[in-house]
Subunit: 222 residues, 2 copies
Amino acid sequence: MSGTVERRRPPTAQQFVLEELRRAITTGELRPGDPIRQDALAARLDVSRVPLREALKTLEAEGLVVHHVHRGYFFAELSLADLEEIYRIRQLLETEAVRAALARMPDGLTGTLERIQEEVERAADAGDVTAMAEANRRFHFTLIEASGMPRLVRLIATLWDATDAYRALYYAEDPHRERAVHEHRAVVSAVGEADGTAAVRWLDEHREHAVAALREVLGRTD
Amino acid sequence: MSGTVERRRPPTAQQFVLEELRRAITTGELRPGDPIRQDALAARLDVSRVPLREALKTLEAEGLVVHHVHRGYFFAELSLADLEEIYRIRQLLETEAVRAALARMPDGLTGTLERIQEEVERAADAGDVTAMAEANRRFHFTLIEASGMPRLVRLIATLWDATDAYRALYYAEDPHRERAVHEHRAVVSAVGEADGTAAVRWLDEHREHAVAALREVLGRTD
DNA sequence: CCATTCAATACTGGATCCAATATCCGATCT
DNA sequence: AGATCGGATATTGGATCCAGTATTGAATGG
């Protein structure tokens, strides 16, 4: 089977590998702590080890894998403490981003957010976790990018990537999606009124709920 | 010539290349915006292109170089706006780190800082810019690492790396070193009294002076 | 029976070689 | 003359192959 329904492959092998690895991580195909056998993985993805290793270097910088010289790469194990730390850092950075965004208030921001929010709600109603996660990310980053601080945006994106594996888990449950939808609406209306404090408060709550859920899940499995 | 006075090479070629590139960036040997010719550079460093490319991937993640598919790597050009953004983010993250450090207050922190501060002052007096930059970094990271937040430490380290090229410039001038020494002393004494607010205030000032200097330098050259 | 040593093995790190893409420059056409 | 097309060249992306290190397990000695 070639060239039928399958998604178009990225232009370079590294990018393809990178996407595949991220996907594998988010779907939980590969468990944290597992060593990465480059030969086997490269063969499975039908590429050589060179682009694989370059992709792993990227993931290493993002903290998704760790590397030991002459021993190889391992999927990073995120402890509850790690996750809490990441969410705390996100809080600091996203607060700054949102404040900056509302101070600049680019044209059409509210409208764009409302439009994306509709997509979020459609996905939430349909119970489509993947679409929900994707639209949710677009929602948040539309707001964050409005800050006009590209490095800040990149940092925040990295932090999101690091916790992707756990986010899908969160949105898998109905009440979580429901709650997220409500919090988003509150954010949209705060943005509409250019009320930075309110927006930040709602986003804090949004995040805190996610952390609470993680605490629950990881608390009982670890 | 082998194994005489030359610094011991790191265990892997990538690490060697990484150090060399960082050094070249900090010393200004390679100017921002310049394309990186892999073949030439690899030959100059006497390694193959593979470890070079992996090192570049690391630098890319840190924002020191940018990469365009099939066109190669380029040394990143940091505008004044970029630098200001980085320093703003550092302020947010370092404030958190210092607050956490003082809340935990690990044993011997003050003593260690005092010891390192002595090294900083020796280097400052001697006018040894490299030693000064190195000791200065140790000083700040000793404090930051006391936060017990490893991810936060990593992020801050990345931000420092991104501006290394400009930091050496700052410490090249006598009055700057002098001022840094005084600010450090104030930080040490604030830490000794477990006064987080004071420590944060002094660090903010420390950073602000650096930014002001950059603004001056870049303002007149750009 | 357990610890230690040493060799076989498996895997990573690196070098070389090949393929694919972008860039540059001259020829051609309007 | 200027713009456009096409081919030569330079440079990156990727595959294969080799070298060096860590790991594993069996043999040996206490």
